[in-house]
Amino acid sequence: MSEPLRNRHVRHPMTRRTVLRGMAGFGTAAALGGLAAACGASASPAPATPAPPSGAPSTVPATPGASLATPSPVPTPVPSPEGELFVYNWADYIGEDTIAKFQDKTGVKVTYDFFDNIDTMLAKVGNGNSGYDVTFPTNINVGPMLARKLIEPLDHSLLPNLANLGPEWANPAYDEGNAHSVPYMWWTTGIAYDSAKVKTGLSSWKALWDPQWSGKMAMLDDYRECFSAALIQLGFDINTTDDAQLDQALALLQQQKPLLRTYTTDDISVLSSGDVWVMHAWSGDVYQVTPDRPSVKYFLPTEGAVRGSDTMVMLAGAKHPVAAHAFINFMLDAQVAAANTNLIGYMGPNEAAKQYIDPAILADPTVNPSPEMLAKLHEIQDLGADEAKYTSRWTKLRAGA
């Protein structure tokens, strides 16, 4: 029932995060899907790895990280891709003609579907027979998907364009050596404010605790993001599992709650509507509203901030593995990656693409923070069983008086 609303930001990148997590019909559907997925995952063994098509040499998984050091271990001969490919991506999260160009270049017929909620995607691919070859999980989902045997290792010899990645992406914490995933786009979480209302310069997370803006502030309805905002202020690791540190963070968030107007599931629109003046926000959302609301500004607090990324993975049971590699490699092409960024306004990890990216985007600190700031960005990691330390405290915070 909420589908039309979710897609209301046509051709803007916002929808990938505009998740009305609480929507009635949709939430139920996702929950049921999750149930089906949970049952499926426990009941059926992981689907067997499909054999490469005849004529293709068997592919050897590359040593993690190796292909970055030696960018072109060209296999002989290069296997030819299958005739079709099924891609499942976030809504509005790719260049306008990227798919068409890939089809023209390779002759592979692409079926391209999209999701706007990570839970939908996980539910759909969760039983291993979704029919999709490539999908785009957020980095924190890579580990759990791997543990559930939902994704296949990548053959780096088929991904020569991995050489285009910036060196900081060679060995991400969520997937050593990019063995099972390739980074696609990244974003930051910081603070957005309406400069027409907030005249003083803001620079710290403390802005979101300032009684001056009481009733005019919002936090994202996302437990890891909220705890990160508190943990960074306290000088702790955003992936800490230390109970004492988490209790301090909870106390800080409890202190903040009475000052807040809302924990928003509607993301940036509470700011662009004028209901709040200062809010916890995702960079992509800010980029999306600034053309219409130039007074909306965004900054990354000096204490440090959060950075997240989405990846490309090949699903277990993918029937078109060579085409899947060809697609991932195509997406890593410098010009293709630049075209994607130019439309959606998210920075990618592609160093070689930078020369083709619109200079206005590169100069926009919202999208492309300075190297000094980059050094202070932390990634949220999936903590497995320890996630419960966060969720129980989050429930306590939200339920509390």
Binding site: M1, S2, P4, L5, L20, R21, G22, M23, A24, G27, A30, A31, G34, A38, A41, S42, D119, P144, A147, R148, G215, A218, M219, D221, D222, Y223, K257, P258, L260, R261, T262, Y263, T265, D266, S273, G274, D275, G384, A385, E387, A388, T391, S392, W394, T395, K396, R398, A399, G400, A401
Partner: protein
């Protein structure tokens, strides 16, 4: 006459089958899940069952949200009946040939998705919204209306009002106007006739309307989510969070199960009370 109950029992099959398949079995499922534990990927482990989740659910942490839920549900039910009763009365009494049309108009909002209508309220009630704009013309405001208790109760009342009107309409429509005339003939005042004749005779409709409004309001998390704010968390919202964001299904199931039990108990107690005290 007791009728042929064996033969007539067949009439129960579709309804009972439906209830078993779509209520009893899922409820049992929820109960079983509530005894399990969360695995590290947010799945459900059922290898050692325990009542730990219920122990957690009964911690005082959740009292404020349960209080919020009851507060909103009771306020909404009362407000909705106060609005719906005169309206249903008017349609039943004076609707004439247009009764069907008027009832269709009552149902008309359902033709638009509830979420879209709730979004419309957000646009109307926000600080720079239409309502504050109009108030500004006469020099009032702006008031913070969105993200408050008021906006939640308002949104719920708006959303569930048709559920309140319909049972009241049925009850009032069935009321024989001659009984009211008789009361008036016997020198009852207009108010007296209403209090001693109309109101008691339409009480079953009021009870049905109250139940049909109260129960969905207790479980509503969309309205508190969209129209509410940081201070308006309801227990339904906490449960939704546990399922979709925290992915702690066992604990969410325990809270949900308690909520269902509490709602059923509350409804039954309410019915008993009304039957004894009001209907007599």
């Amino acid at each position: 006459m007791r009728g042929n109950w064996r033969r007539d029992a067949i009439l129960l099959v579709p309804g009972l089958g439906w209830l078993v398949a779509f209520f009893a079995i899922p409820l049992a499922f929820i109960f079983v899940v509530s005894l399990g534990t969360r695995d590290q990927f947010g799945g459900v482990m059922l290898d050692h069952l325990s009542l730990d989740n219920y122990r957690r659910a009964l911690e005082p942490d959740f009292i404020p949200t349960v209080v919020n839920s009851f507060k909103y549900a009771i306020a909404t039910t009362i407000l909705a009946i106060l609005i719906a009763y005169p309206m249903a009365y008017f349609i039943a009494r004076y609707g004439g040939r247009r009764k069907a049309l008027l009832l269709v108009l009552v149902m008309l909002p359902f033709w638009t998705s509830w979420v879209i209508r709730t979004y419309a309220w957000m646009i109307l009630l926000r600080d720079n919204g239409v309502v504050n704009g109009l108030l500004g013309v006469v020099g009032l405001g702006p008031f913070q209306m969105l993200n408050t208790d008021m906006s939640v109760i308002f949104g719920m009342t708006y959303g569930f009002l048709p559920f309140t009107i319909l049972p009241l309409y049925v009850a009032i429509d069935r009321l024989d106007p001659d009984l009211v005339h008789a009361a008036r003939d016997l020198y009852a005042s207009g108010r007296g006739a209403f209090i001693h004749v109309t109101l008691p005779l339409t009480m079953p409709g009021i009870v049905a309307a109250a139940i049909l409004t109260f129960i969905p309001t207790m479980g509503d998390y969309v309205t508190p989510d969209l129209l509410g704010g940081a201070q308006t968390t309801t227990i339904a919202k906490v449960i939704q969070n546990l399922f979709l964001s925290a992915r702690d299904w066992p604990f969410g199931s325990a809270l949900g199960f308690l909520m269902i039990v509490l709602t059923i108990a509350g409804t039954v107690a309410g019915l008993r009370f009304l039957r004894q005290e009001v209907i007599g």
